[in-house]
């Protein structure tokens, strides 16, 4: 399936609206000045994801994910290298950055951060589709991204993956992570059609 630059731009804008909203919520909640943006977006197959730079798909990462069903089905995940995840949580919570270790409380906090980002992104998408989606509860896992994609336990999920680099900037620190939208067969077309519907 050919994906034109215009459609890709529209998807990026959609995700940017979501993360912008998430940044606002995080700012309000933590009192930190957080900038959250998506500088780059790619649409990949699972095998292309394995070779994608930055994502380090084969090694365990800190992930918060949820699955969704409806006109658009798949899995949405926020993914960080574990050290970055711990650093992000400690910066947000104002903890001294001494031991970048993800203990149970930091995992719980990361789950909330992931929940805010994913919910905002999914909110943007659902608004665009003007349809109701049903969601699972958010789940935290330390897992290689490739396994996460397969753990969706639905062979159809492995159609296309929207990979969005994310950058959290706060207190002179820039922490990179990724947002993954692992879409079921046909869902990407649905999403792109919806973006074309609102394009000028």
């Amino acid at each position: 399936m050919e994906i034109d630059a215009e459609s890709l731009d529209a998807v990026r804008e959609l995700i940017n609206i979501g993360v912008g909203r998430a940044a606002g919520m995080l700012n309000e909640m933590t009192g930190c000045t957080i900038r959250l943006r998506v500088p780059m977006i790619q649409i990949l197959t699972l095998s292309e994801l394995a070779g994608a730079p930055h994502i380090n798909a084969g090694s365990a990462q800190a992930t918060v994910s949820l699955t969704f069903n409806g006109p658009l089905s798949g899995m949405s995940a926020l993914v960080f290298p574990q050290d970055s995840a711990a650093a992000l949580v400690m910066l947000l919570s104002g903890e001294p950055h001494e031991s970048p270790e993800l203990d149970a409380l930091r995992i719980e906090t990361l789950k909330e951060v992931g929940n805010i980002v994913i919910n905002s992104v999914m909110g943007s998408i659902a608004n665009l589709l003007a349809h109701h989606l049903t969601y699972s509860l958010p789940r935290y896992q330390e897992i290689p991204v490739l396994l996460l994609a397969r753990s969706a336990n639905n062979p159809c999920f492995h159609d296309r993956i929207i990979l969005a680099d994310t950058r959290f900037t706060l207190e002179d620190h820039e922490i990179e992570g990724s947002i993954l939208l692992i879409l079921e067969v046909g869902s990407l077309e649905t999403l792109l059609d919806a973006t074309r519907g609102v394009s000028p």
Partner: protein
């Protein structure tokens, strides 16, 4: 997006309540609210935690009861749930007391909260699930504090070790220079004594004094040699020593083939200070100089569940019962510059011990006790291990 702008009316709520009572036995707090934050159900767990009865709170606005929930930090995310979005989770880090629940000690319960879309009575409701994570929070905080303390102690210990190392280096240098200077003076005195000796007739009182001075100089020299050996103790890291190689070399050096040497050793390696070799030399020299007519040395090793035992025995006069412990005291047997006291100190650096268990009159038997982690028996095709 689905929204239910209409509040849930009382008959609808009463209809649902019978079903929702199934949430009463759960060990988590369950609160059902409608789009207007009106409390429709309040389970027994949250009633117990908060001390607020169901009848008191049902029908009231949750935000009025708990004003912090009226903040956009909460409402923007809870509203998303009512608008068809995914569940919202609230961590204890940022929202430790979603619904404040006082504990007996005056603290508030640490909570993890989730707001989940919930369909009931044909309405879109929100289910607030409150989990008690008070113990978990306390344990993690305690763990963090303990780890921070341990890290601080490690840092302090590192600094102390570095300071000790620096001080030790200086002391060793001072000791070495002092020893060297004293030996130079001793050599000078020896020279003058040689000159004096020639001036006095053998057997004269003056000659006797010269001989006594020479003897005492010899004792001083020996003390200095012991001091030098002792200074080297523990300076180098322990290494894996091949016992057979050391024993063969020492036997050859000390006895030069004049005795029969019975080797019953396996391919044994021992983790010890590099001065371990000197210990073996010392034991063999003791056999030569104190053992009487030693004609045979036997070296063996045995091990079971406890420590391994490396034994060196001879067929000399042995050690008298009353001397078996005394020989390991400081100042005893320093003829070679390395008495059994020092041997014991060298062995103790890696947890090894030494004792004498021979039969007086039949020969001396020194046993070196080696903890299991400090020895290995290598098979023929295996190399020497690098570390314990």
């Amino acid at each position: 997006m689905t929204t239910d702008a209409r509040p849930v009316n009382e008959p609808e709520r009463r209809g649902g309540e019978r079903e929702w009572e199934m949430f009463d036995p759960l060990p988590v707090g369950i609160v059902l609210i409608d789009r207007h934050y009106t409390v429709l159900f309040w389970n027994q767990c949250i009633a117990r935690w908060t001390g607020i009865d169901r009848d008191t709170i049902v029908g009231s606005d949750l935000r009025t009861r708990f004003p912090h929930l009226a903040s956009p930090v909460y409402t923007s995310r809870i509203d998303q749930v009512f608008e068809g979005g995914p569940a919202a989770v609230f961590s204890s880090q940022f929202h430790p007391h979603f619904i404040p629940a006082p504990l007996e000690n005056g603290e508030l319960l640490a909570e993890h909260a989730s707001v989940i879309p919930f369909e009931a009575c044909g309405m879109h409701l929100g289910m607030i699930v409150i989990e008690d994570i008070h113990d978990l929070t306390s344990q993690v905080r305690l763990y963090r504090a303990t780890r921070a303390l341990a890290n601080a102690e490690i840092e302090e210990r590192k600094k102390a070790e570095e300071a000790l190392h620096a001080a030790n280096t200086k002391l060793n240098l001072l000791s070495s220079i002092t020893r060297h200077d004293i030996l130079n003076q001793v050599t000078g005195i020896y020279g003058y004594l040689g000159l004096l000796e020639n001036n006095f007739a053998p057997g004269s009182q003056q000659r006797t004094y010269v001989d006594k001075i020479a003897l005492q100089l010899e004792v001083i020299s020996r003390f200095l040699k012991v001091a030098r050996d002792y200074q080297q103790l523990g300076i180098s890291s322990p290494v894996w020593c091949s016992v057979r190689e050391i024993v063969e070399r020492a036997t050859q050096d000390v006895f030069a083939g004049s005795i029969s040497f019975e080797d019953l050793l396996p391919d044994l390696v021992v983790y010890a200070d590099p001065l371990f070799e000197k210990v073996i030399f010392n034991l063999l020299e003791n056999a030569k100089f104190h053992g009487g007519n030693v004609t045979k040395i036997r070296v063996a090793f045995s091990h079971g569940d406890g420590p391994g035992i490396l034994s060196l025995e001879d067929n000399g006069v042995g050690v008298r019962e009353e001397d078996k412990e005394r020989i390991f005291l400081k100042g005893i047997g320093t003829r070679t510059g390395l008495g059994l006291f020092l041997s014991q100190e060298i062995l103790s650096l890696t947890g090894l011990e030494i004792r004498e268990t021979g039969i007086p009159g039949k020969g001396a038997r020194f046993e070196i006790l080696i903890p299991p982690a400090m020895f290995r028996i290598c098979s023929a095709d295996r190399g020497r291990p690098g570390s314990p």
